[in-house]
Structures are given as C-alpha cells and as structure tokens.
Amino acid sequence: MSARSREGLERALRELGLHCVVEAWDALAVAVPELGARGFENPETRQRAIALARTHGFSHLAVELRGAESEPSARATLSGD
C-alpha cells in the first residue's frame, strides 16, 4: 500500500466531483461530504473512490451520513464514550 496521504485523497475525491473533507483514522479514511453534496450513491463513482483511497494508503473508506443539523464542532473528537 502507498504512503498514506489524507490531503492527496481529499484532492483526488474533489477532482472526481466528490466534495468532502477527509479525516484519517489510521488506515480508515472518513469522507465528510459538504452539506448537500452527493455522488457516493453512484456505484461507479464509489468504486473509483475506493480505488483512490487505496492509492493514497487507506484500506477502508467510509462516508459520513450527515444531517442538516450536523455541526463541525461535533465532529472534532475521535475518542468516544
């Protein structure tokens, strides 16, 4: 697997038309779409996104399901309970 690059993946996803911020959690990349942004529901786009994640060093790619009420401050921490 290539060296991990959060910024690289974020840029590549944007070039694919997926407007999101990428968070890196070890080998998991979490794509946080900008409000109203779509595209991950398209199977072809999804496959390309997964391939890009691998290229940028991530074994897993997940997309956060955001509601209109989501606030950036609520997404700042990684640890939970």
Partner: protein, 306 residues
Amino acid sequence: MEGRSEQQLAQQCLEDELFGREARLADWLRAQGSVLLGFSGGVDSAYLACVAVETLGPTHVLAVIGRSASYPAAQWQSARDVAARFGVPVFEVDTDEVNDPRYAANPTNRCFFCKTELWSRLVPIARSRGLSAVIDGTNADDLEDYRPGARAAVEHGVLSPLALLGFRKSDIRALSRVRRIPTWEQPSAPCLSSRIPYGTPVTPARLRVIEAAEAALRALGVAGDLRVRYHGDLARVELTPLELERWLEPRGAAALRDAVRGAGFARVALDLRGFRSGSLNVLGGLVADAEPAPLGAGWTAAEPAA
C-alpha cells in the same frame, strides 16, 4: 441412472456425500454416549444439537448457553426458540469474561480468555451430570481461520465433531435446510466485541451501544450481514452490497443515521466496500497472527477439573 443429466448426477453425489457425513456424525455421537454442547443457537451448534438429540435422545444431551454481555440478548432468545422447537434440553449459565482485565484489554487473542471462561464453567457441569463428552460447533472452515478461542477448547478437552468429520459451513447450512432448522440461512453472528478494534478496551457500555445500534438497524429493515464497527463516537456501518445501494440513497441514509445515533453514537458512516469479515483486523496496525486452530482430543472423567 439412465436419462439423468450430468448436473442431476453431480447433485446426487453431493447429497450422498452430505448424508454420509451426517451418518458418520451420528456414529461419532453414539460412540460418546452422552454429550454437553456449548450452545449459542448459531448455525453450527443448532445443527449439532438437533442431530445429537435425534441420535442420543434428550436425556443424553445437554445444550448449555453461556450468557455473556458480549453477545446480543436476541441471540439467546433465538437459541431458546430453536431448542424448544427441536426438543433440545437447555441449561443457561452466566459468563463474565467482560470483567476479566485480560479480555477487556482487547488483545488479539481476546477470544482465548472468553472461551477459557466459558469452558471452565461448562466442563464441571458435564462432570457433575455424568455426561461423557463436551463438544462445540466448530466446523472445518473455522480451522483455516485465526481462532485463539480454539486453544482454550483444546486445553479443556472440548471436542469439535463437525470439524473432525470435515463439515464445512455450506454443508451445515444445506443439512440444516433439509431438517428445516431455521438457522440454515442465518448470517454468521460473531460476538459484539469483534466490532471493537484490537487494543481498544471492551466495556459493557460499548457493547450495549453496538448491540442497540445493530438492533435498531434490523428493526429498520436492514437484511443480511451487518456490522456496526466501533470507532469511538463514530459508528462505521458495514452492509452487504445490495443493502449498501439501498441505504446510500438520501432517504435511506437519513433513516439509517437516525437509527444509529438513537442508539448512542454521535456520528455515523457507511463503509463503501461494505461487509467484510474481520475488517477491523487490518485497521490500526494490529493484525492477528495466522495460526491454524487446533483440535481437541477430549477429556475423560479421570482428568482433574480445569
């Protein structure tokens, strides 16, 4: 044989092989005389319980459910239902591996401590009731996986007849279907601790949130393999490819998000590759060693208690 297609002949051979294997299982059980079965109500132990009762009769079989916080409560009910339907005598004991610090630290051999706790409770029950053998539902496919829990079974003299006789998961599903055991198409259901990455402590509170989230998704109509993976305040949901299509659509995504958040997670993400068994093992750099699972040689009444 005349007039039968090659496909029909192949199917007949397959069925003969399966039923032959089941007959060997019945012979093996007869040779034991009586058995105590570690019973989860999953595909393997449900099948084994049914064959054991049919072969030995209910007075020579005891299926023991080891209840633990690391399994969803719904599973115990499912186990009781299967047992009641097929006349399997059941006994229930509580296990407490979650309060064992060696287990709670969530090392890669976590399952060893869980199964050590389980078998250290079940083997004495077999002895006290005069049951000849302690058995479990480990199958031949399991032997190819990393299964540290299998070592605990060996250390306690537990036997795995399905694995010993070469039953694969697909064989067990096919034979369960013939017997109309409802578990035949049940998805695999490993313990809830498997949703927490190795090295992240297992706590009763975390297990409860995971259990509630998965139950909420089932109630919502999610079908097939499903895992809610724990990443602190974020739940990473793994679904089958078909389900993924359905729940990525805006309306489905909103419902799924609300269900998981209602269970206690602050954030919800859908894994874009979908369900993968052992998916957490490759995250965080902690990968379990590939060690083939051993098979036990059994115990006798003369052995000291474990």
